[in-house]
């Protein structure tokens, strides 16, 4: 195709003068895609709330008002109204964030660690170990996750996030492991690995110092993806009631709202906030993932960069547009 259409990058980055690529830390920071920055900012807010939420919650999220039978709308003392039993919705949100976020991050860490260990071993060792581990990954991939979770979690004692996180991780590692394996396989064949072997580096050292650092982007993306999967799945499970219903999380809030007929009662302040927060949290992770993708994929990156630079002209530049003609360079510094 490329004899006809413009190549994605007629002059690949390999040809850029070094000075253009290493334009310092400040420039590097600026080059982080906006998507990633926005995603990270939102995520940080959630993490902060997860840490301090239970302390700043104005009420005990479980405290009921005797005699109340209907949810009350927002008032000055209950900013997000109350549930049917008079529990403060805002306090539930503030306390519930912790469990949801912790579960997500915990699963992310465990599943990603599994993916990295299994993916790099399979890719680096090749041969039989690779066949075995790939088979294992495929088996886990075809397991129907949700029904299985319902069954397993139904049997587990509901204490804390750890059991759930472990079960989610065991079911969630193969996605990441597959891409990391593929990447390891391709890196293993690269000359710099052979060259490291020439200088006598051991296999372990090659994996940890030559290959893994080149996979950071991929690992981060896989981590973010897993966190998203864990959060959505845990919410879904809680909503189905397969969860520790005596603790607060977005999922259990939705479960109680559903049980209390919040929708039929038009108590939007009860069912909408947890839903919106799940969506927002999910969005921040998706943005972060796109951003990481862009950072790791020069093609996407150059398109994004091009869009920015092109705005120097009359309108913003699209990838299929011809090279802009700018008779005066505004920032000519010579």
């Amino acid at each position: 195709m490329s004899a006809l259409a413009a190549p994605a990058d007629p002059l690949p980055d390999a040809q850029l003068p070094a000075t253009v690529i290493t334009a310092g830390r400040r420039e590097a920071l600026r080059r982080i895609p906006v998507k990633a920055k926005v995603g990270a900012a939102i995520l940080i807010v959630f993490i902060v709330v997860a840490i301090i939420g239970p302390w700043i919650a104005p009420y005990d999220p479980a405290a009921t008002t005797i005699g109340q039978a209907l949810p009350h709308g927002p008032t000055g003392s209950h900013l997000l109204g109350t549930t049917a039993t008079g529990q403060d919705v805002l306090s539930q949100l503030l306390s519930g964030t912790r469990s949801t976020v912790v579960l997500g991050l915990l699963t992310g860490v465990i599943a990603t660690a599994l993916s990295v260990v299994i993916g790099t071993s399979a890719g680096f060792l090749g041969g039989l170990p690779d066949d075995g581990l790939s088979l294992l990954a495929n088996v886990f991939l075809v397991l129907p996750a949700l029904p299985l979770l319902v069954v397993i979690l139904g049997y587990l004692p509901h204490t804390g996030e750890l059991p759930t996180a472990i079960v989610l991780s065991v079911l969630g590692w193969p996605w990441g492991a597959r891409v990391i394996r593929a990447q390891t396989l391709s890196l293993r064949g690269r000359d710099f690995v052979a060259a490291a072997r020439e200088s006598g580096e051991s296999s372990v050292r090659i994996i940890f110092f030559e290959i893994l650092p080149n996979e950071i982007g991929l690992i981060a993306a896989s981590f973010v993806g897993t966190v998203l999967y864990a959060i959505l799945t845990s919410v879904a499970l809680a909503f189905l009631g397969v969860s520790n219903l005596s603790s607060w999380s977005y999922g259990t809030m939705l479960y109680w709202a559903q049980g209390g007929n919040a929708v039929q009662l038009n108590a939007w302040w009860w069912y909408a906030p947890p839903g919106i927060l799940v969506a927002l949290l999910g969005m921040s992770l998706v943005l972060l993932n796109f951003g990481l993708d862009e950072l790791g994929n020069p093609r996407l990156r150059s398109a994004a960069r091009a869009g920015r630079t092109g705005r120097a002209g009359s309108r913003s530049w699209r990838p299929a547009d011809p090279t802009p003609v700018l008779r005066e360079l505004p920032t000519e510094r010579s």
Partner: protein
């Protein structure tokens, strides 16, 4: 030019005037093309030469506005005067996207640098070609199918290969497919950016012959870009030399060949070893091109020029006529002066190969070395089919052959990077197994390999310091010897390189780091796999000289792998010619190149660029494929 004297005055078809192009960047705009004029006439082949990074590709792509921001065109004009455009010329810089879309490919087609790697790996060749035709031409389904067959046969590929996937085709075939696609709409101008650089000499020559036959038949004009001036001297009508974003000399092929008057052009001309004539010591062009950010006052070539004077720092870089149709940007040096002080000296002594003692002790021996790879369905290919030779201390042995002949596999077997499937390797007379886990580390103290692509052989995430100190420590040496190592490979001052990342270095500098890393083991044998094939012609000699110097100083046994038999003649004591996994001819370098006895050796020699002989055959339109 003599051949064109009788033809009517040529009409210009693509006129580039005073074109400037910059890459915007926070760290200073890279002004990659600076006020360049270039006119392509109907039916003409114009060659554009210069080291990489001097702006050739930017000029070519920019002139049809294919570059993406941060590239911007900052001045000048480009006009196209094809037969099929009614008006008297399209102003490319003012054209609308729609106009440009019609112009590109249908009028001006481009074969991109490394185009052959840009075929979609999961689509059959036929489907890719059909897609491309469908996207650009209003043809019926039938017509498109017919056209695809016609095109593929036009470039000499049997139509049965249309059903193949790209990876099933050789590099040369893939490049032909790209050329066929570029020619699909019968464009009047074809821009070819390094179309044969990644191919070895035999294939390169076939493809060039192909291009010329097609040009004669279809009558398009060609803008041919390469860093290898010797190639242009065979194929181009006119040659434009670029340096640091500017055109520094331009003239007919003959003028550039025999009367070039810019020192840079002379540098390029003396950068490639020749197969005929006396063996001479060559220098290439030491140093590297300047940073293109900001304004460059005076002549940009000053730091690398043998003739520079104080006046050079302030001159105005205007092209001034030297003779009709021949312009040069250097007002101080004439062709006569350049002839009088040749950059190359006949070298009885300096070409060390000639002066070397005839016998060094044998260090490493390969005896009947074999390697076969198992493909799908149990089929095995024998990449190395029984190869025997020995490497002696202080000697350079060249292993010459085209790609796929098994050269790299031989090196990898000797390095222990790969398990051999037969034969013996002897170190100091003792049979050993380099690939065995136990012996590997100590074997590496003796035998080190340097890889072909310096862009791939250094980890992009580690600094030079990391690469070298690790290697030193692993071989029980002190990390502080780092500076000495850098010095050995002529990377000085060391402070400038110690903490650099690979991407901050040029190809030549990276290759030096790779060599330094091999030297950290203080080896007795150096296996160099095409150490210069990825580098610019102008710096290849420097690299070869470095290896030669290291050989002399450290008494190294060197295996030099290459597809360029002329460089083997220049540099090696003994040449082994490899073809289809076997050594088909061997002998002392000079004797073998001057009186080859095997047909394949003759073919290699005939394919090597030689401005004095080969161009004429191509240009006469004769098929010269063996």
């Amino acid at each position: 030019m003599a051949e064109n004297a009788g033809s009517p005055a040529p009409e210009p078809i693509l006129k580039i005037k005073d074109l400037s192009i910059a890459y915007r960047s926070g760290a200073g705009d890279v002004r990659a093309v600076r006020h360049v004029d270039l006119t392509l006439h109907r039916g003409e082949v114009v060659g554009l030469a210069g080291e990489s990074g001097c702006g050739k590709s930017t000029l070519a792509y920019g002139s049809v506005r294919l570059l993406r921001p941060p590239a911007v065109i900052t001045g000048g004009s480009v006009s196209y005067h094809g037969r099929r455009v009614e008006t008297d010329g399209v102003d490319v810089l003012a054209a609308s996207p729609e106009q440009l879309r019609r112009l590109r490919w249908r009028e001006i087609a481009i074969v991109f640098q490394s185009a052959m790697n840009s075929l979609n790996p999961v689509l059959r060749v036929r489907d890719q070609m059909l897609d491309a035709l469908g996207a650009h031409l209003a043809l019926t389904r039938e017509q498109r199918h017919d056209r695809v067959v016609e095109l593929i046969e036009m470039v000499g590929i049997p139509r049965t290969r249309l059903a193949s996937y790209p990876h099933e085709l050789s590099g040369g075939m893939r490049q032909r497919v790209m050329i066929a696609m570029a020619l699909a709409a019968e464009p009047e101008v074809v821009i070819m950016d390094e179309p044969t650089t990644a191919l070895d000499v035999v294939v390169q020559r076939e493809i060039l012959a192909e291009i010329f036959a097609l040009k004669d038949r279809l009558g398009f004009s060609v803008l041919f870009i390469t860093h290898d001036l010797s190639l242009l001297l065979e194929i181009a009508d006119r040659v434009v030399i670029m340096y640091a974003g500017r055109a520094v000399e331009s003239g007919t092929r003959e003028q550039i060949h025999v009367r070039s008057s810019h020192p840079y052009t002379r540098g390029l001309l003396t950068s490639f070893p020749r197969l005929r004539g006396p063996r001479v010591k060559l220098t290439g062009i030491p140093g590297s091109p300047p940073d293109l950010r900001g304004a460059l006052t005076g002549c940009p070539f000053v730091p690398r020029c043998r003739f520079s004077t104080d006046a050079c720092a302030t001159i105005d870089m205007a092209l001034t006529p030297v003779e009709p149709a021949h312009v040069s940007a250097c007002p101080f040096v004439s062709a006569e002066r350049l002839d009088a002080s040749p950059a190359s000296a006949p070298a009885p002594a300096p070409v060390a190969a000639l002066a070397r003692e005839s016998s060094g002790a044998v260090v490493l021996e390969a005896a009947d070395l074999r390697k076969s790879y198992r493909l799908a369905r149990g089929v095995a290919v024998e990449a190395v089919a029984g190869v025997s030779f020995e490497l002696r201390r202080g000697k350079i042995t060249a292993l010459v052959g085209e790609s796929g002949s098994g050269k790299t596999t031989v090196a990898r077997l000797l390095a222990g990077q790969e398990q051999r499937s037969g034969g013996e390797i002897r170190l100091d007379g003792k049979v050993i197994d380099p690939a065995s886990r136990r012996g590997f580390r100590s074997y590496k103290e003796t035998v080190q390999m340097v890889f072909q692509d310096p862009f791939a052989s250094l980890n992009p995430l580690h600094t030079v310091r990391y690469h070298l100190t690790r290697a030193l420590k692993l071989h029980g040496r002190d990390g502080a010897e780092l500076d000495g190592l850098l010095d050995q490979v002529r990377l000085s001052p060391p402070e400038q390189y110690r903490d650099a990342y690979p991407h901050e270095l040029s190809g030549g500098q990276r290759q030096r780091v790779a060599i330094a890393r091999a030297l950290a083991a203080a080896p007795r044998v150096l296996l160099a796999d095409e150490p210069v094939s990825m580098l610019d012609v102008s710096i290849r000699l420097e690299m070869l000289d470095l290896i030669e110097e290291l050989r002399a100083r450290l008494d190294l046994a060197v295996l030099y792998i290459t597809h360029d038999i002329a460089s083997a003649r220049y540099f090696a004591d003994e040449i082994l010619v490899m073809h289809g996994g076997e050594i088909v001819e061997r002998g002392p370098a000079e004797a073998l190149t001057q009186a080859p006895s095997h047909d394949y050796t003759r073919l290699l020699i005939a394919s090597a660029p030689d401005p004095d002989a080969f161009g004429r055959q191509l240009r006469a339109g004769r098929r010269t494929a063996p």
